[in-house]
Amino acid sequence: MLKTLLKSVREYKLPSILCPIVMVGEAAMEIVIPYLMTFVIGELELLAESPEYSVNITRIAVCSSLMVVCALFALFCGVWGGKLSAKASCGFARNLRADMYDNIQTYSFANIDNYSTASLITRVTTDVNNVQNAYQMCIRMLVRAPILFISSVVMTCLIEPQMALVFVGGAVMLGLIVFVCLIKVAPHFKMMFKKYDGLNSVVQENLTAVRVVKSYVREEKEIGKMQTATEEVYKYSVKAEKILTFMMPCVSLVMYAVIIVIWTLGSNMAAGNVFGNVNAADLQTLNIYAMQILSGVMMVAMCLNMISLSKGSMDRICEVLEERTTLPKAGEPVTQIKDGGVTFENVDFAYSQKSDVRVLTGVNLSICAGETVGIIGATGSGKTSLVSLIPRLYDVSKGSVKVGGVDVRDYDMDVLRGGVAMVLQKNVLFSGSVAENLRWGDENATEEELRLAARQACAEEFIDALPGGFGYDLGQGGVNVSGGQKQRLCIARALLKKPKIIIFDDSTSAVDTKTDALIRESLRKHAPETTKIIIAQRIASVQDADKIIVLSEGEVSAVGTHDELLKTSAIYREVYESQTGGENAAGGENDGDE
């Protein structure tokens, strides 16, 4: 897991390695400066001891200047190290985000279905943030702290090895306390984060469904849900922090105990009661080392804590990074689509390999290039699933789908999808101008081409009426145009691809019957080669198709023209009658179509 993540360090390897080294420089100074202090203090104490003592001015001058030099060097190292760590950690985070995003771009529809949008967003932002903090802490502290610890111990040994033993003993105890506490606290934190997710989803739901809540006057119920959620978060936060607030005094207590032992022992050594090479000035220096050693241990513990806390985030990031597309690339990809013919051979399909719920079973179809094909069926009969197989948004479970006589799995993905345009049921436009959105279909489309596609989709007129025309800003999700307009823009966008096959997945539901017919008419005229597959609720939208496929519970129940189906298919007739009120089943003046 760590390996996967660390791959993203890349160009930030140098600062990542340099930072700890520079930090060691700073740490070394932290050791040297107190040592130099001892000399200054020592002189003063000798002076305090006997006023006649002639102070060694050179020694003080040298030590003081050395201290200044050291402090400046430490300052330099500290500042540089800080900058390096900021560069390395932010850069690492940037690469992580980019890598995740890149990988998400390779996902198939089946991959995408695995993650909720909210969870992907959390992974790209919050989780990366957590990892960034842990990384930053590690490169700053994980080398510096042990070095500080070891050199402090060494310096102490120089003064008096017995004292070093006391320190090591204290450090071990401290390490144990911190270790035990962190192990105890981890599950509580884990629960707390889980409860946080729950809390967020309550807020999220209430924001998106505010109208439902208000309509049903369910404010009190929702407030109750929220209170349960906050209560849970409170419970686990307190549980976790209780341990932490207990840990800190324990840590201080150990530190104090070490200091008291040092002073008791040291005083006795200085007084000559116990053998040992410690004098009064040394004691104060030892005090400083004690702090450094113990804070070194604390730092390491904190780092480990950060890492363990961010472990959940790391796991979630790795999941995204390691997810491989469920659509394997073709070995020797075919790079050209011969024509827009489509064949389904014994196709079975299920959304998940595990589930045995077949969405499509035993589908056999043959659609010739240039044909107009309508698909009709009840809610949940598998219409969308059927057409999703053509641009290989999903792979079949059994059988094969062929485009232009070649299995879709043998095509280069970009070529296949470039040749098959699909106007999805859930139309999405992006923030940006009308022209920018249309150019999704063809990046290099000229003004004329945009206009032509818009005209074919019956969108030209209303685009011109918009303030700014093709330059009009659509806003996020295309909120600034109506449903029908949105659908027509999506159609124009698809037309710009000049596809071999174009699929309309219920994409004219908000367009009136006349415009609907006009769009079909212009398609017939301007794209005779293109195979047109239309899923529709309205019989009128498919009535004049060359072929209409009636789907029922994942199976093809009938295929034929409008007139044929009226005679042969009960389902089709029923749908037709439901739309015409059954008065004039043969189609009269007021039967809902032109």
Partner: protein, 639 residues
């Protein structure tokens, strides 16, 4: 709906990247909010912080006598171990007391902080539930969401860590300061000079850091927004092979975030070493100044503190040793305070945003008339209207009338012009017209999501403004254009319509809505969990559930706003039969694009530019050969 979204684009006054506008006021309010609820606990916190800070500073002063005792001089030839032990015992006691106090205040503060955070979240949520719809239309979800996450989070840090640390640091500074003045006022002055330089540096660096941290928040928001949009539209991205393009803009935003983050963190990380090493320089400076003064025999200047008059050079040197130790102690808390700088800036910016939301005026509760069940007669729903001292009951029927209603979302843009209509109990009224003609707006006015600008709407003869809002809405069943489901089982979601509905009633509603047939195919049937707004269901299935939810509510008035747009006509037909059975004697408003949906209505209103241009039954309207006829025959574009 589309209308409301449009408003959203222009709204959002809340600029996330800005710092707090009035930090002092916000801080005062935040502290008041936090501590006024925990007066006694706060007193204890202050007491324990005092004890703990006192212990840390006083404890150090007992080391000097030990050092002094250990140094053997002709006048003091014998080390008295008792003096040493006594001091060590005092130090131990002081430390234990200090440790216990710090444990105590941390514990208490933890309860205060988390308690406050919980309380604040709850209150924000309660408050949010009472906000008018207009508020949600003018703020993005991301904005509101981050109030509960980011903003609250930095506040928790402020309360549980920064504030106790600040108090403790301030006290330590005061203690140490007094000791230093006690020893030598002159050297204290020297320290103050360094301190001044230190503060200037901190202000510079900290200011830069805070600036970039706020910018970083902004960059993060922008990235969030983009990722959200792209991942929402991921399937379109795929279908158009647009992956490369989608990466470009992301790269830009990602680089921007990296840049601001790097700067913000650089400045923040620099603060520590700068302070720390300035502290060392200060140490050297004090030592040198002390020596120079001693060497030049200016002991009087040196000992200008409480010890003035004690002119021995030995005492002087001893004092200098202690003073140097204190000066190290003085730096620690100052360093701690400066490192909290960013936390404070960010927390105050967040707190201000939270208070802004809490301060928004809530939706008014409506009038005095309430809905009662069984109060005037057994099992009868009725409006209870206060008249004089007593009450008058008006039976609930579902008669709705609009009289000369004028309305616009903005004052200067009228959406509905002078609408008058009536719907008698049991009638089905349909609205037909282009998007933006005002169909959804009409239903928004009935349940008082918005209020009319002029004219009146009456419900069973009562002005809806005189009815309590909750009761008014309770009497209206609504199926909205966008279906939203809640985390929970399928059954829970149906029961949302009426909380005391039995399982049988829910299943019956599901059958009427034709949802039963797909529910029984779900892995756990009615106990299947719905997650992420029903992501595992198809658009049509979600609509069926929403209809079942409305059916179970048994309201006398039902509003269906494009409720069957994703359902095939055959299923719709089946639902309609169920609806008709259920809604016998009740009023239904239908908005639909599909004319087949509205055909059997008692009255169809054709709306255009906020006006009713035609009304009548299907047959009447066809006879009129007007707009409806054109629509129906496809001669006119409906959009």
């Amino acid at each position: 709906m589309a209308m409301n979204n449009k408003v959203m684009g222009h709204g959002g006054s809340n600029f996330r990247g800005a710092g707090a506008k009035s930090p002092m006021k916000t801080l005062k309010r935040l502290l008041g909010y936090t501590f006024s609820r925990y007066k006694v606990a706060t007193a204890f916190v202050v007491l324990f912080v005092l004890l703990s800070a006192g212990a840390t500073s006083i404890g150090a002063s007992f080391f000097a006598p030990i050092v002094k005792e250990l140094i053997v001089t002709p006048e003091h030839p014998q080390v008295d171990m008792w003096v040493i032990y006594r001091n060590i015992i005092i130090i131990a006691c002081v430390y234990v007391a200090g440790g216990l106090s710090s444990f105590a205040y941390n514990r208490i503060m933890m309860y205060i902080a988390h308690g406050t955070i919980k309380k604040m979240r709850d209150e924000m949520f309660v408050k949010m539930q009472r906000l008018p719809l207009r508020y949600f239309d003018t703020h993005t979800h991301g904005e509101l969401m981050s109030l509960y996450t980011n903003d609250i989070d930095v506040m928790r840090q402020l309360l549980s860590q920064t504030i106790p640390q600040l108090i403790s640091s301030a006290l330590t500074i005061i203690f140490v300061f007094s000791f230093m003045v006690y020893y030598s006022a002159f050297l204290t002055l020297v320290i103050f000079c360094v301190l001044f330089i230190m503060l200037l540096t901190v202000k510079q660096i900290g200011g830069q850091s805070a600036k970039y941290f706020l910018k970083q928040q902004d960059a993060l928001g922008a990235l969030n927004g983009y990722v959200e949009e792209m991942i929402e539209g991921q399937k379109v991205v795929k279908v158009f092979c647009h992956e490369e393009k989608a990466r470009e803009r992301f790269k830009e935003l990602n680089d921007n975030l990296n840049e601001t983050g790097r700067k913000a963190n650089s400045f923040a990380f620099i603060l520590g070493p700068v302070n720390n090493n300035l502290g060392y320089l200060q140490y050297v400076l004090v030592a040198v100044v002390g020596f120079v003064l001693m060497a030049t025999n200016n002991v009087g200047v040196l000992l200008s503190g409480y010890l003035a008059g004690n002119t021995g050079i030995a005492a002087c040197a001893g004092m200098l040793v202690s003073f140097l130790a204190f000066s190290r102690q003085f730096n620690m808390p100052i360093q701690q305070v400066t490192q909290q700088f960013n936390a404070i800036v960010m927390a105050l910016a967040g707190a201000e945003r939270i208070f802004e939301m809490v301060d928004t005026l809530p939706e008014d509760g409506g009038g005095e008339i309430t809905l009662t069940h069984g109060e005037c007669a057994e099992g009868v729903w009725a409006w209870k209207k206060p008249v004089g001292g007593g009450f008058e009951f008006v039976p609930l029927k579902g008669d709705i009338r609009f009289e000369n209603v004028v309305f616009g979302y903005d004052d200067d843009k009228v959406i509905l012009k002078n609408i008058s209509l009536y719907a008698k109990p049991g009638q089905k009224i349909a609205f037909v017209g282009s998007t933006g003609a005002g169909k959804t707006t009409i239903t928004n006015l009935i349940n008082r999501f918005y209020d009319v600008q002029s004219g009146t709407i009456t419900y069973d003869g009562l002005d809806i403004k005189s009815i309590r809002k909750d009761d008014l809405r309770r009497s209206l069943g609504v199926v909205l254009q966008d279906t939203h489901l809640f985390t929970g089982t399928v059954m829970d979601n149906i029961r949302y319509g009426r909380l005391n509905a039995t399982d049988e009633e829910c299943i019956k509603a599901a059958k009427l809505a034709n949802a039963d047939s797909f529910i029984v195919h779900l892995p756990e049937k009615y106990d299947t969990m719905i997650k992420g707004d029903g992501a595992n269901l198809s658009q049509g299935q979600r609509q069926l559930l929403a209809i079942a939810r409305a059916m179970v509510s048994e309201c006398p008035v039902l509003i269906l706003d494009e409720a069957t747009s994703s359902i095939d006509t055959r299923t719709e037909k089946l639902i309609e039969q169920g609806l008709d059975k259920l809604m016998e004697g009740r009023t239904v408003f239908v908005i639909a694009h599909r004319l087949s949906t509205v055909r059997n209505s008692h009255a169809i209103m054709v709306l255009e530019h906020g006006e009713i241009i035609e009304r009548g039954s299907h047959a009447d309207l066809l006879e009129q050969k007007g707009k409806y006829y054109q629509l129906y025959t496809g001669a006119f574009e409906l959009d």
